[in-house]
Symmetry: C2
Subunit: 343 residues, 2 copies
């Protein structure tokens, strides 16, 4: 077969605010790849099927020396994130063509993996759509499931507040908190998302753009668990309305990613209310919970007990649009780029 | 015996800043008590020997409806805090005259305790000065010992930063961290206190009034454990210089007590560095660690392995001066009021 285009999404410049398509990243078709002959050196050639666009990608769009979760993107090189692909050729005995592979991929049509060290072969016993393995059955699902198990210390009848409750992490957390018998308050940025949170079980759901968060929490709290994807004023309101002994699960702070964030009030509540405030990175929790996760979550999704929804962006050329939407919260559900058809 | 003066320290007005003697509190000699005949109704008459002046007392000098550790002081009534006394008369079978009693006392010469529910008879097997039971062998000591055990997850070779490291809690924490094989950085507000921190084992000790905290931590960190008695800019500097997975033990925030405190920068580090930030109230940890504490700490002090020092204020009339000194940090060591001689 003749060489084909190996389309890529390249990091172009460090954004000062939101990552504008064509500026922060550019779509590039200048490279080709000959899938039949490209040297693998013992590795695996994987065709990308789905790429995940998650809030944390914004964190790699910075100076290489700033500390963050993961190494910063390099100007002129492809960005990377979680994805699912299919093995096209393999010189690795553990992988055969047709196997589906999950892990961190460069945003390009084809990747050559030197080994499987950081990747996982998807079994897909329950025949989920493959894209779910970058969502509810992938990193965002693990984030919700594992950190909830590790930090929530949930008790029946307690109150949980979940920010960005219509997103892939928050919507999973809402359902976990309901399974544990809690009263659940969810916030999101549109009325449609409010309806979705109610449909998955939230007892109280509100649009933070039209309703004052602090007032809702004062009325519906005090809070025993706060799932934070937001930071800023939402974090301040949760501090103010936390019950003694409350647990804060610090998953992310999207208010900080694009403008650096403002200083936070009410921190002293950590002392007076004996709060436990825990940041985490899901990869640190995987050794403890990975087996339980893959044994339970795909089955819960397949059976319909765990609700999940996606917003699919078509083609790698839509990556810039999807990246911006996720930072602004204008995507309608878990943002996934469909790079190629399931094979 | 004829009635004697039952001197008291009364809460007089809610301070807007530091608690000025004669304004926030007043010393009062208007009451008398007849120790031979006063009705005990099955309780215990205790003569106060020592009262402890701790930073958290400032927190009860506020509006009754503001949330804090303990109920607010009542205008016109005595303030309260930890103390040691001696039983003068007892109608309780568990207490005999001459027994030493530890617990929360009203700041007055004599108290009648209805029962022993919230108090403890001091055994004093190691013949410590009784005043030590409101210090290293009392609430401040328990605070250091129990929260260190619960939250530090200390490892040999790691780095601990202890704020107010010359105080009764901080100086104990420095010694615990050294026992665990850590590198210890201590901060305090005078050169004399810096010398003291070095004398009890701190590897690095500095005067935060003349040396920039952030610069010291950048040079000597990154931090694995931060013992926070301060909040504010010290907390911000610790967030900035924490290592991934660091533990913050939020004991107090004296920067907040007298002026309400400012919003705090760098909070996002909780997320990116997977920090664990824990507030606590020592009484919640007592059931788990009380036995171990009383079995080890008095012996360590008696043998000289654990260093401790006091700043004794003479007479109940010095309470106002001591309260102010502890808030301003001008006391030289653990502030204790000697109310009456050991009996």
């Amino acid at each position: 077969m003749a060489p084909v285009t190996n389309a890529r999404v390249l990091f172009n410049e460090i954004p000062t605010g939101y990552p504008e398509p064509g500026r922060a990243t550019v779509y590039d078709e200048s490279k080709t790849i000959d899938v039949d002959t490209v040297a693998l050196d013992g590795g695996i050639l994987v065709k990308t099927l789905y790429l995940s666009v998650d809030p944390f990608l914004r964190e790699m769009m910075q100076e290489p020396d700033e500390e963050s979760f993961s190494p910063a993107y390099i100007i002129g090189e492809p960005i990377y994130g979680y994805g699912v692909g299919v093995a096209v050729r393999s010189e690795n005995g553990d992988v055969k063509p047709g196997d589906n592979v999950y892990g961190l991929f460069s945003f390009q049509s084809y990747n050559i993996l030197p080994n499987l060290d950081e990747f996982r072969i998807i079994e897909n016993k329950h025949n989920l759509p493959l894209s779910y393995y970058v969502g509810v059955a992938g990193m965002p699902g693990k984030t919700a499931f594992m950190a909830w198990k590790e930090y929530s210390r949930s008790k029946k009848g307690e109150v949980a507040f979940v920010s960005t409750g219509a997103g892939p992490v928050g919507s999973f957390v809402i359902q976990l908190a309901k399974l544990d018998g809690m009263k659940v308050i969810g916030s999101a940025g549109s009325d449609e998302k409010v309806e979705y949170m109610k449909s998955i079980g939230a007892d109280v759901a509100f649009n933070y753009k039209t309703t004052n968060t602090l007032e809702v929490l004062k009325k519906e709290g005090p809070l025993d668990v706060f799932w934070d994807n937001v930071g800023g004023e939402t974090f301040e309101a949760a501090l103010e309305t936390a019950r003694k002994g409350a647990r804060f699960i610090e998953c992310g702070m999207i208010t900080v990613y694009n403008d650096g964030g403002k200083p936070v009030k009410n921190i002293y509540n950590i002392v007076t209310k004996s709060l436990s405030v825990n940041g985490f990175i899901v990869t640190d929790l995987e050794p403890k919970y990975s087996k339980e996760f893959y044994n339970t979550v795909p089955q819960l999704v397949a059976s319909g007990q765990l609700k999940y929804r996606e917003h699919v962006y078509e083609g790698l050329e839509s990556a810039g649009e999807a990246l911006l939407a996720v930072q602004m919260g204008t995507n309608k559900a878990k943002a996934v780029i469909k790079v190629a058809k399931d094979v």
